[in-house]
Amino acid sequence: MASRREFMMALGGTLVAVGARQVIGQQGAEAPGASMEGDGYIPVRRLPRPAAAKRLTPLERDAVERMISCPCPCTLDVFTCRTSMPCGFSPRLHADVVALANGGYSADEILAAFEQSYGEKILMAPHKQGFNWVGWLAPFAAVGGGAFVVGALIRRWGSRAAERRATSSVPVDGSDDEMAQLEAAVRGDDR
């Protein structure tokens, strides 16, 4: 039978192994972001479509850039970053977007191309699919659930209060003027 010391060592070894695998796994997960130019930037290039019927307007192109996250630590989208900071990334990503837009690619195709190169992290908001639905719906579920609980509580409290009122009610007899004066007094407007 293993001693407590042996057990702790085995547990420690297991944790180290799991941790190491996690680190290796993370490094693997970073593969899509592996740099072609040494700093995390990956060129997103596609052959132009000469026969494309419609090209994105500058405003539509800006909208696409607003959906692409800048890989620098700014947490901004490419459009905002390049028009305000700008960092070493956003002008290059902008150039890629411009090239793709001029090449006849649609907004969805440009976003898909960037996602293919960088992974989902490059998008400013996660896709509405799979586990991401938890992220999208949780706030509404929380507010809806909260409202439901509050509604149920008030209904329960209300029925108890109604029972109490039924057993001890005092009829109020007052003219409209009196009631208006009372309301003003209650509001504190008469002070």
């Binding site: 970053c81 992974g119 908001a125 992220g135 209060a161 109604a162 007899d173 009372l182």
Partner: protein, 681 residues
């Protein structure tokens, strides 16, 4: 002085430790000598933290580069005002600044309660001292601004250009004043839970502090938005950055508390909920600080990654465990004295308002943390940025705006159908008329239309309340309208100050909705060339380049473009945008170039000029943006702050003796026993 400051930091830590120990012991053992000693020690802590702060300010202003902090955040050619504000520009200094504010608040709390709340005060003192221990220890051991370098550099690195803005001098202090003020209500809540004195006494004590926190957070957030707007690089006045989100969280729960506290005051209800909100507000302020300082979440605002993030995580967990234990063991003492009677009552409206406020806080927190959650669950990183927050929070925000108008229209306890019809008729009509008017004028953005319709509804509600109140005073006292209005507000500051805050919210939402109509133009201009653009109001503007100039200022090399802006009916005006390359005292570049925007401001819109760069000798690459209603954001913030001040302003002595939970009681005598009502009364 610098050495005295360094020593004072350590002495302050010892004093806080003594204060916490003897205060809790004194409160538990009911020993007044220990309690008094704890209070004196907390005053002494404040004095030593002041000395420590003066020491650091001395080092900053005299450019003592032997201190790592001074060398990292200042340079000898930095203007004095930024040397002064560099105190909170870096991790270590900002920690000491937090300690300074907390010690100041603690001393004020002790002084203000030297004769009141004596049962609670030992534990309030102990809790505040315990929080001070954490912050002082983190400062002394984890991020010491007095840490020295092995060698003395000839000059410092300088302050990040984005921090060289007047906003730096006022925005962080206001935000810190707001964050730290949440500690005092938290301390009172802990004291009330420990002593089981959970009646209205502790609530009365914390209400003003909650308002202080709310007011400073409101001012701080508004100033932050202004700074982020005028200083390029933060991504506009609100970019849903994690650190921006962190400031919003305690503001939201604090606002919820300021509404729900009224229900406990008037009806003796929601005791558990109020304790929870007070605690949550404090914990969210700490969580925000953890997010800013730990490096677990990337942010454009965050400090460099440092080990103190784990200190904050530990403190947060400890605070949650202690509070949860106290609440769980005192559930019976937190039972309500009354219960809600109707779904259609002001209490219910406040509760729904609380649900939405806390729901928005949850959604902001959830969105901020979801990348970490997703990575833990799926193993791959995602980004949660502005599109997510806008999709989720705009509908919730509009719901909240609607409730802002609904609450004041419904009676306490229970509203009758007749009462509802009477109260809602005018505001609903006001909202619909405004919405229809905007639709007729061609507005087709759905959210903007809903926003302006609700803005009309809430504004009419507020106006109706003022008209009724003034009318009542005129009937009863025969006062002129201005006098009646002033006295109405003065005699019932909480109610009417609150309405002013609501109006500020309306103005803010109107401004946010205006952003849906902004227009942007990218262009290249050589000297003398012009560009014509239409603004959101379809007015034609002509911009003519006056050329590019290059010159040197105190600590920077500047490249500037000046445009002449013209439109029919307006005199030509010049707008300038600059690219700045900051340099050290030897003329060497220090940071990446920064951009100073040029803004032509008006109530309707801002013309926002950004110089991207200069190609060739004189061709300016620029962006011109028409930002509608941006000034309304600042005005909204100012109106909210004014309303908050009115609410906070001490009422005359009247309520001091009569303050109690449960509010007023109205007794209607049976008709037979009533004296006859005289005509004209």
């Amino acid at each position: 002085m610098i050495l005295i400051g360094e020593l004072s930091l350590w002495v302050a830590l010892l004093m806080a430790a003594w204060s916490a120990t003897v205060s809790f012991a004194g409160g538990q053992m009911r020993r007044s000598d220990l309690v008094a000693s704890g209070e004196r020690a907390l005053y002494a802590t404040f004095a030593f933290v002041v000395l420590a702060s003066i020491g650091l300010w001395t080092a900053l202003l005299t450019s003592d580069f032997s201190l790592r902090f001074v060398a990292s955040y200042t340079s000898s050619n930095l203007p004095a005002v930024y040397k002064f504000s560099a105190f909170w520009g870096g991790q270590a200094g900002s920690m000491l600044f937090w300690c300074l504010i907390l010690a100041l608040y603690s001393a004020i709390t002790l002084f203000a309660n030297r004769r009141t709340n004596r049962e609670l005060m030992p534990f309030v003192t102990g809790t505040l001292a315990a929080i001070l221990i954490f912050f002082l220890a983190t400062t002394a051991f984890g991020a010491n601004p007095y840490a020295r370098l092995d060698w003395i550099p000839p000059d410092g690195t300088g302050l990040n250009p984005q921090l060289q803005n007047p906003g730096m001098a006022i925005h962080p202090p206001n935000l810190y004043l707001g964050y730290v003020a949440t500690s005092v209500p938290f301390a009172f809540a802990i004291a009330a839970l420990i002593t089981r004195r959970l009646d209205a006494e502790w609530l009365a004590a914390v209400r003003r502090w909650s308002l202080v926190s709310w007011l400073f957070l409101t001012i701080g957030i508004t100033l932050g938005m202004w700074w982020a707007y005028v200083e390029l690089g933060w991504g506009g006045y609100w970019a849903w950055d994690p650190v921006e989100n962190a400031s919003l969280l305690p503001w939201l729960t604090g606002t919820a508390f300021l509404h729900s506290i009224m229900i406990q005051e008037k009806r003796g209800m929601l005791r558990k909920w109020n304790v929870t909100l007070v605690v949550a507000t404090f914990l969210l302020a700490i969580l925000g600080t953890f997010i800013t300082r730990s490096g677990v979440i990337e942010s454009v605002h965050s400090f460099a990654q440092s080990p103190i993030g784990s200190w904050f995580a530990g403190f947060l967990i400890l605070a949650i465990v202690v509070t949860a234990f106290l609440v769980a063991t005192r559930l019976k003492d937190l039972e309500a004295q009354a219960e809600l009677e109707s779904m259609v009552s002001r209490e219910a409206a406040f509760l729904y308002n609380n649900v939405v406020l806390v729901g928005i806080a949850f959604s902001v927190l959830w969105g901020t943390l979801f990348p970490i959650i997703s990575e833990a669950v799926r193993g791959s990183k995602i980004t949660v940025g502005a599109p997510f927050f806008n999709t989720v929070n705009i509908p919730l925000g509009l719901l909240l705006l609607g409730l802002t108008g609904v609450g004041p229209l419904i009676a306490w306890r229970r509203a009758s159908v007749a009462n509802l019809k009477r109260q809602f008729a005018v505001p609903v009509a006001g909202g619909l008329v405004l919405g229809a008017a905007f639709f007729a004028l061609g507005m087709r953005d759905g959210y903007a239309l809903v926003s302006y319709t609700l803005a009309g509804f809430v504004t009419t509600t507020i106006a109706q309340e003022f008209v009724k109140g003034v009318g009542a005073r005129r009937r009863i006292h025969g006062e002129a309208i201005p006098i009646a209005l002033l006295r109405l507000i003065g005699r019932n500051r909480r109610r009417y100050g609150g309405y002013i805050v609501h109006f500020g919210i309306v103005v803010l939402f109107a401004a946010f909705a205006g952003l849906a109509f902004k227009k942007e133009y990218d262009l290249s201009l050589t000297p003398g060339s012009s560009f014509t653009a239409l603004d959101p109001y379809n007015r034609s503007w002509t911009f003519t380049s006056q050329g590019v100039s290059r010159y040197e200022e105190l600590n920077r090399q500047v490249t500037a473009v000046v445009l002449e802006a013209k439109r029919p009916g307006m005199a030509p005006t010049l707008i300038k945008s600059e690219k700045r390359q900051h340099v050290d005292s030897r003329g060497q570049p220090t940071f990446e170039p920064s951009t100073e925007v040029g803004i032509l401001e008006s109530l309707r819109q801002d013309v926002y000029l950004v110089l991207h760069g200069v190609t060739g000798e004189e061709t300016a690459e620029i962006r011109i943006t028409f930002n509608p209603l941006v000034w309304w954001v600042w005005y909204g913030g100012i109106i909210m702050a004014i309303g908050g001040l009115i609410v906070m302003w001490p009422q005359a002595t009247r309520s001091r003796s009569g303050r109690r939970e449960g509010g007023y009681v109205v007794v209607m005598q049976p008709a037979a026993e009533r004296p006859p009502v005289e005509a004209g009364v």
